[in-house]
Subunit: 200 residues, 4 copies
């Protein structure tokens, strides 16, 4: 893939991401009535770098052509949504499912079923319409939704694995998994407190 | 209008503005083929303040109710698009007119017909769909398109009129109008140079 | 305090805050050698609103004059620094203490000694030089440093207390305190894992 | 120069640029008393890319080592300041010269003496102190100051020269120079109007 091909490839993905973040902002302001706090703590996003695209295609056993990137990669544009509480995540996802201009083509719920490492998040692949000059294209965007506590764990997990060997990671894997359990408990307790207050 | 009413009033307008800027960004990247420079130099925007809304309604002879703001004001959300060349402005407007998700409800061309003061810009009132919880609302957004030279004049004109009396302005009015003429000539000459180069 | 007085009051504080954030950014890039991850996760900041200044002065039993705000308030400009690990916080504070252009005039360590509610953070009051037209003024800036886990708790605690009565809070106080303990344990465990990896 | 060497090279330059922009912001708010509009319209900046650094060193006949970049390049970090009026530019430069924490090591005044192409701007090379872990380094930063009208011309000039041959440019050179003259006249007339109003 040349630099120019990469540049052309990602342009509509970036537009789709921007459109999607606009929709999330709007939802954040309107999902709950005024008496409750808005569900989203903050939103992060990135477009996959040329090098990451090439690496991932290679790992999948495909050549790094533009067409293969479009066909096989679902996370060229990625958005991370950090929520306050677990139920905010599901409320947001339900609202997105009701929007007729979006299509949810895949969902993986690592909150209900965490990864072996302890990783928790809800992953969605969406298709989002982008109006170019003459036509409308539907672009794939990956959405990761998690609470701030899950994000805390994922960040530290990433920091600790950064430039480490398999063996080194192996020796702390169990400790990391236990921390993930603690965070799970924490999120559930916080949610209980919220529900208790709401019912007062 | 209470602070809370103002806050509720502007929310969907702000979402419409954000959506509109996303559309403009996408157009900016796709309006011309790769060999030409993109048409937009930069984009500014603002939501009308509570005080400006109240003042304007008063000036129009209406009470400052939320309903009156919705009914009579067309510039609660305003976007300013600064373009490189005059023809970029018209190319953008034509592309917006082709987008089925937008409605142009009003157009005033102060480039073809400058205001008496010398002011030049193209003004559009658009209606933009915003997806809230359950329904889609069409919100009015004002678009002002101008070249950087027109913007230069408008900024200085505004600076110079700032906190000045009618009489003081009167004494420099003619000089400002002449400067507007110079800018008009400048924009046309620059456009000629562009066309000459394009035809080489 | 008039709006104009407020505007003039906060200007040098905002400049001091901006200067301080620039220093933190520079430290973040240079505190550790290249092999380690940088200490700061993200930085938030705010300037105290006119209303908050007036309320706080009233609560302290002072009239809301500009002079009283300058004399009695130490948090007109506030910066929150979210770190990855507890030791990053202390490393940053030590580096700030070494900078000759800053003066630390107060330190409260709510990490070593959490508040009764469970709140944890390290608070510093600094004096930062700001170069205005002719002279240099030393402005107070409040710095709050905490881990992402402490920030998670503080956010949820704030959300849950939002618009609630004393009695309602009372019924969940103990549960919130227990969550703060869980977070304390979590931060220490994560730090242990980091140290274990560093020593490999 | 490897990617990593480039990354390490630019870090203190970026910090110096950020510090310099903070100083400009502070000056902008304090240069004039309240009755007048602030001098700066907007600020742009960029760090020279790896490829531009290598190209420029090659053109100068030097190898692309990190040391050569530090020794021979004065514009690794560049800031562009767009002002409203010509005299704002000189007032800002005078204020910068009075700041004891900055050293002006070079000045080129292309406003008094425009380039042959018609290009106008005031260029400064400054040295700015950056506090790293243990020591303070003085980094070079290039400042370009111009009015919005000069910036308009420079942008269009750049657009028109973009991907064009020498011969093509040659055929419009004279026309571009004439436009620069028009802009020169415009800036002076606008300044006259300002002075007239100020003296009322």
């Amino acid at each position: 893939m040349t630099n120019e091909q990469y540049h052309d490839l990602i342009q509509p993905y970036e537009s789709a991401g921007q459109m999607m973040r606009t929709r999330l902002d709007t939802l954040n302001k309107n999902l709950y009535c005024k008496t409750t706090v808005s569900p989203i703590h903050n939103i992060l996003y990135r477009t996959k770098s040329k090098r990451s695209i090439e690496k991932k295609l290679e790992k999948m056993g495909h050549s790094d052509s533009v067409q293969n990137a479009k066909d096989y990669l679902k996370d060229i544009e990625g958005i991370r949504v950090i929520c306050y509480f677990i139920d905010d995540i599901y409320n947001l996802v339900n609202a997105l499912r009701r929007q007729s201009e979006l299509i949810v083509i895949k969902e993986k719920d690592y909150i209900k079923n965490p990864k072996k490492s302890g990783y928790q998040s809800l992953h969605l692949i969406l298709e989002v319409p982008v109006t170019l000059q003459e036509e409308t294209q539907w672009m794939k965007v990956e959405l990761q939704l998690r609470t701030a506590a899950m994000d805390y764990w994922a960040n530290l997990d990433h920091e600790l694995r950064y430039k480490k060997t398999e063996k080194e990671i192996g020796e702390v894997d169990e400790a990391l998994r236990q921390c993930a359990d603690v965070i799970r408990t924490l999120d559930l307790r916080m949610l209980e407190i919220r529900k208790k207050i709401a019912s007062m």
